[in-house]
């Protein structure tokens, strides 16, 4: 869809200087009405910062923004909204204590003389949710009670609630499963058809292919390419633009597990009331087992329960014959289990502590003599990991907060590598991680397995689980509905199994 009149929105030479970090260093972006404009770039390239500048959440240090060809200054999120720019932020920007409806109308409440018109809000909300294919979600449900996916749907509904001319979506698919993503795309098409422009950020290139019209690529805070037509741009080129090198964006092949490999992790009849029941599986040294399923199927709970972060209501977990105490994380850690949790920021990192301390969080006592810390030794091991995993920026004293998603994930992996785990549980290891880092993480998982670790991977990216794993367990509504070799299964089969599972 090409059109003549001036572009709906232009950003020119945008620079954003943070104390200690230049996030944007001269970015140009041009968005036309009715297009889906994809924003690509590695973790830390500056995508979120750019769209925060556009939304008025950040003030640019330099550069100008034009709407319909006329320069504007967006000093505050309200100003952005007034100009018709609505944004779904990457960090879920919802308020747990408020209901779905209240969240959607937060800031532009439906009220007469300050008194909320709750009936109207509820009605409109229901309409919005239905439009998003979630008519079943109650507008009065408290958002704190929703899973990550549910929260994402709420902020989507909020974006729709301002009838905007540009809707910016920062990695909306990160917490959504295939089904939800299809839903999202349907809505996006409706929007563009009605002339609304959509700025779409994602690390999943297949999505870009499905939905995108044009692409702008950021690298290290600069525009390296803009206005590329999706159709005519090969994936390889995109990756090269993003990473500046040729990345083999494929899951490395691994030689199959030795038949005589010892069983390291043995889960037997594990159950957690209200979440999942009778989960049994074994993982042998050097084996990768994947848990596939839809959002809310209970995979995270399973991992957390195996790890002892939740107290199993039935069943046992053994690490090489040794039975673990239920509900004791420290037991599990001592036994050599490590978990990279789903919610990196809130469950994994101490954001204001330096990177090296986040890496040594479960091992600093080891380096200590007579419980006196040896920070020198800590920095040393941390540096080694930062080198080998190529964490950027590489300064071990930088606070974890300022790292981008992918790098934060690497820090978590580094923590367990230092600890030397025999069992590694990975919950959505590539969520919000860029192609480059993703490939590296795939490689890491392969290496770990090669070194004899037992790995369990949860991912909502079904091809990914299948690709990574030797064996795949399909979880549906807290039950294992399939357990077999990865070779013998594909995405459709998984989805069928899930459907059957929930039907049964």
């Amino acid at each position: 869809m090409v059109n003549e009149d001036p572009p709906l929105l232009q950003m020119r030479g945008i620079v954003k200087q943070f104390p200690g970090a230049r996030a944007l260093d001269g970015v140009d972006l041009e968005i036309r009405a009715g297009e889906v404009h994809c924003l690509l770039g590695q973790n830390g390239a500056g995508k979120s910062t750019l769209i925060k500048v556009l939304a008025g959440a950040h003030q640019p240090t330099e550069g100008e923004i034009l709407v319909d060809g006329t320069p504007v200054t967006i000093t505050h999120p309200v100003a952005g909204l007034k100009l018709g720019i609505a944004t779904m932020y990457q960090e879920l920007d919802v308020v747990d204590g408020l209901s779905v409806a209240e969240n959607i109308y937060l800031g532009h409440e439906l009220a007469t003389g300050g008194f909320s018109q709750r009936r109207a809000a509820t009605a409109n909300t229901r309409a919005l949710l239905t439009r998003l294919g979630h008519g079943d979600m109650s507008p009065n449900r408290e958002v704190g009670r929703l899973s990550a996916a549910g929260k994402q749907i709420v902020s989507m509904a909020r974006a729709l609630s301002h009838d905007a001319r540009v809707i910016v979506m920062d990695e909306p698919s990160a917490v959504l499963d295939a089904e939800e993503v299809t839903n999202l795309f349907r809505v996006v098409r409706e929007l563009t058809a009605s002339g609304v422009a959509v700025v779409y950020i994602s690390h999943r290139l297949d999505e870009i292919r499905q939905i995108g019209d044009r692409i702008t690529v950021l690298k290290d805070g600069r525009t390296v390419a803009t206005g590329l037509p999706v159709a005519q741009t090969p994936t390889a080129e995109l990756i090269k633009l993003m990473t500046g090198r040729n990345v083999e964006y494929a899951i490395p092949a691994r030689d199959t597990v030795a038949a005589d490999a010892a069983t390291v992790l043995k889960v037997d009849g594990l159950a957690l009331r209200g979440s999942f029941s009778d989960v049994s599986f074994e993982v042998r040294a050097g084996e990768v087992v994947g848990l596939a399923g839809l959002v809310g199927s209970g995979r995270t709970e399973i991992l957390e329960t195996v790890f002892g972060a939740r107290k199993a209501t039935a069943g046992t977990v053994q690490v090489s014959e040794k039975k673990l105490r239920a509900g004791s994380v420290s037991d599990a850690v001592t036994a050599g289990i490590g978990l990279c949790p789903e919610e990196r920021k809130s469950q994994g990192l101490i954001l204001d502590e330096p990177v090296y301390r986040n890496i040594t969080l479960s091992t600093f006592a080891r380096n200590a003599n007579a419980s006196f810390l040896d920070e020198g030794a800590e920095r040393k091991v941390a540096r080694e990991q930062i080198q080998s995993l190529d964490v950027r920026p590489s300064d071990p004293d930088r606070s974890a907060r300022t790292l981008s998603g992918g790098n934060q994930q690497k820090v978590l992996l580094a923590r367990w590598l230092v600890h030397g785990c025999r069992v590694l549980l990975l919950d959505e290891p590539t969520r919000g991680v860029d192609v480059g880092a993703r490939a590296e993480i795939y490689g890491l998982i392969a290496d770990l397995a090669a070194q004899g670790a037992a790995v369990v991977v949860v991912s909502s990216d079904i091809p990914e689980v299948i690709g990574l794993s030797d064996r795949v367990l399909v979880i549906s509504e807290g039950r294992v509905v399939h357990d077999g070799p990865a070779s013998g299964i594909d995405e459709h089969r998984v989805l069928d199994l899930v459907m059957e599972g929930s039907a049964a």
């Binding site: 920007d93 308020v95 204590g97 209240e102 937060l106 909320s116 919610e343």
Partner: protein, 349 residues
């Protein structure tokens, strides 16, 4: 959960509990449902107290008079607890309410004020008290929202200064109020219910509506629960924060005027340590100290539990010290009870 993870596990836990307990009622803050549902623990505690009172003190406890005494005792702390509920729900804390009560009561009873009141109208006293409270609250608000001073420190400073200022104004005397119009008003009891109790009731209802049924209330929860999200949603977080402290100061002003009516005297010691009672009542009520969730009904129940407690004790001629020990124990028990029940109801969902 993410947000709560920063706070002590305890708070985190109670957070989840509260969250689940809430889930009982789709319409949040639904007055009745709220009181019976998520506040069941408090209701039980209160009922238990009353039963104990009746058993030990018979109709001396059960009498209407005594009920009114309890309510009168509760009224001042009750009013400031409502203001405190807003500040805490908004993610803050106000340690100065007690001293501000003292300052307001003193300022509103100076010779100057009383003469003016006699010349014009006794309402002058009321307005003066409210004005002082509002002013102090605004200063807190500006320091915290715009000066970026941590709430705990800013209001602690106000606590100290307000007390000092009150002493200077009162010149270390207890100022007796001789404005009859005011005293009559304060002593009147429409429909047999003392004016102070009416005010408490009024403020509570107003507070409930404001928190649960207005934009202001919803924004308060947003500001307390996730300031960044609130900001991105276009809410002027700083300004709103300032309003919250102003509101709390205002309730302290009302409290000061009530003290004046109740004790017929303005003194710099009025309201001493009320801040602790208020905060305790609010938190026992189920409002999260870390902000983002508030319940007026719970607060009111919390206040009533405390005043009933000390009444029952006095009825039984217990020493203040014994009262103190029991009070501490009961606070803990109430909270534990509250949590267990909440967990029960969570298991239910």
């Amino acid at each position: 959960m993410s947000e709560h993870d920063v706070t002590v596990p305890a708070a985190d836990e109670s957070a989840r509990v509260e969250q689940v307990a809430k889930s009982g009622d789709g319409k949040r803050g639904g007055l009745l449902k709220g009181a019976t549902g998520r506040n069941l623990g408090l209701v039980i505690a209160l009922v238990a107290l009353c039963i104990f009172g009746v058993i030990t003190a018979g109709e001396r406890f059960a009498s209407i008079d005594n009920l009114l005494t309890i309510l009168r005792l509760a009224s001042v702390v009750g009013v400031i607890s409502i203001g405190m509920t807003f500040v805490i729900t908004g993610g803050g804390i106000d340690l100065s309410v007690g001293s501000v009560i003292g300052l307001a009561s003193v300022w509103a009873s100076t010779l100057a004020t009383q003469t003016m009141a006699n010349d014009f109208h006794w309402i002058v006293i009321v307005l003066c008290g409210l004005g002082v409270g509002l002013g102090a609250g605004l200063i807190n608000g500006v320091l915290i929202a715009y000066g970026k001073v941590v709430a705990f420190i800013a209001t602690l400073a106000m606590l100290v200064s307000a007390r000092g200022l009150a002493e200077i104004i009162a010149n270390r005397q207890t100022q007796i109020v001789e404005v009859d119009g005011f005293l009559d008003f304060a002593r009147s009891s429409p429909l047999g219910v003392p004016m102070l109790v009416w005010i408490f009731l009024l403020v509570s209802v107003a507070g409930w509506i404001l928190l649960n049924r207005t934009t202001f209330g919803r924004r308060t929860i947003a500001v307390g629960g996730n300031p960044e999200a609130a900001r991105l949603a276009g809410i002027k977080v700083k300004r709103h924060t300032m309003y919250l402290y102003a509101l709390c100061g205002l309730t302290a002003g009302i409290g000061g005027v009530m003290m004046l009516g109740r004790t017929t005297a303005g003194s710099s010691t009025n309201g001493q340590l009320y801040e602790l009672d208020a905060i305790a009542a609010v938190v026992i009520g189920g409002t999260l100290l870390i902000g983002g969730r508030g319940t007026i009904v719970g607060t009111v129940l919390g206040v009533l539990i405390f005043s009933t407690l000390s009444n029952v004790f006095t009825q039984n001629n217990l020493s203040i010290s014994a009262q103190a020990i029991a009070k501490g124990v009961i606070i803990v028990v109430a909270v534990l009870l509250q949590q267990r029940i909440a967990e029960r109801s969570r298991a239910g969902t």
